[in-house]
């Protein structure tokens, strides 16, 4: 005789660790919306009217709110990803392993470099 408790659907609400995990996974939702918006933009290039309509859609306040959320979500996801990366891909140079903090700093430097490059290319300079 024995029993086995079933995992309830609300398991992820039980502990802050699981809630943080679900938040990390949920970052995909606003990012999917952003991707769909960008895909719609590509399709709208087929006609001038469609492109103007798409520009109007992109300027709507609620769309801007979701896209801002997507930006924040991608930063949060990057934060969690960069923290996990040294554990998944540990780098050893000779006998010594590269400290996690160096790898995390290198990833953030790369991200900031790309952001600076895009601002310079499309934003009319820093």
């Amino acid at each position: 005789m024995a029993y086995k408790p079933n995992l309830q659907r609300t398991w992820w609400l039980q502990h802050r660790f699981f809630r943080a995990y679900m938040l990390r996974e949920a970052t995909v939702l606003p990012l999917v919306f952003l991707l769909c918006s960008l895909l719609a933009g590509v399709y709208s290039l087929t006609s001038a009217d469609a492109f103007i309509a798409w520009q109007g859609f992109m300027a709507k306040p609620w769309v801007i709110v979701i896209h801002t959320l997507a930006l924040l979500a991608s930063f949060y996801h990057a934060l969690t990803f960069f923290q996990l990366f040294p554990r998944v891909m540990p780098i050893r140079l000779g006998d010594k392993s590269v400290p996690a903090v160096v790898m995390i700093a290198a990833q953030w430097s790369g991200t900031l470099t790309v952001i600076a490059l895009f601002l310079w290319l499309f934003g009319g300079g820093l």
């Binding site: 005789m1 024995a2 029993y3 086995k4 408790p5 995992l7 398991w11 992820w12 039980q14 502990h15 660790f17 699981f18 995990y21 996974e25 996990l84 554990r87 998944v88 891909m89 540990p90 050893r92 006998d95 392993s97």
Partner: protein
């Protein structure tokens, strides 16, 4: 000082369902959760059943859920809990009696990944030397004591008991990284499956609760890199 300790009891010959029982236990700064359980067993109710042995986080027997978090009873202290303690059997396992769970599922997964050196020594009677650098590659993963806390912390194992799970994969990874081992090709088919490394979504709680700092989540996700390489090699060889 006294503390209220609630234990989730299960006495199948008396009650069909598990029930909570509260005990009032004296404690001081040095009382471990296991110490409190032993006090209950010796002084209050001798029918309370739980596993324990070494009292020093070596044997891995005294894993319980303490206020919902998997803990080793000997390494966790009553003083850490300002309010009452609720002790339950390890989550995601079949409960046989009180705080005792059947570890069969974990042991089956452990056996499946062949957690031992597989090697044909060229000179059987001579020691197989290993440099400190070769040892450093796997040493962290060799600290596992098979306590099962990582399984109780893993929601993916809770949802799918077929998932090989953090502890067994960490040990598979430990032997795959060992310079003396030649058994990687025998372990990878188990890790390459959906129930192998790919069921893990890097929740990471297994590493948080590990009492020995093994970081099984890192092992599982390093295993994904190895699995991807292994599957790619098989594909090019036409063996997939």
């Amino acid at each position: 000082m006294h503390k209220e300790i609630q234990i989730k009891r299960y006495l199948p010959e008396e009650h069909a369902e598990p029930f909570w029982q509260t005990f009032r236990v004296p404690y001081d700064e040095t009382t471990s959760v296991l110490g409190a359980l032993n006090y209950i067993k010796e002084e209050l109710d001798s029918t309370v059943s739980f596993r324990w042995s070494c009292r020093m986080a070596i044997c891995g027997s005294c894993g319980y859920m303490v206020n919902g978090i998997p803990k080793l009873g000997c390494k966790d202290f009553v003083r850490n809990y300002p309010a009452a303690l609720r002790i339950e059997p390890l989550a995601h396992f079949t409960v046989e009696r009180d705080l005792m769970v059947a570890m069969d599922e974990f042991l089956q997964h452990l056996e499946a990944v062949k957690p031992y050196l597989i090697a044909e020594p060229s000179e059987p009677h001579k020691p197989h030397r290993q440099t400190p650098a070769q040892l450093a590659k796997y040493k962290q993963f060799a600290n596992c004591i098979n306590c099962g806390l990582c399984y109780a912390a893993c929601p993916q194992f809770g949802l799918n008991p077929e998932f090989v799970g953090p502890g067994a994969i960490a040990l598979a990874h430990r032997y795959n990284l060992d310079s003396r081992d030649q058994g990687k090709a025998k372990r990878m088919p188990v890790l390459n499956t959906h129930d192998g490394v790919w069921s893990c979504t890097f929740v990471g709680f297994c590493s948080d609760v590990c009492p020995k700092g093994v970081d099984p989540a890192a092992a599982v996700n390093q295993g994904k890199v190895e699995s991807a390489k292994s599957m790619l090699i098989q594909m090019f060889r036409g063996g997939a």
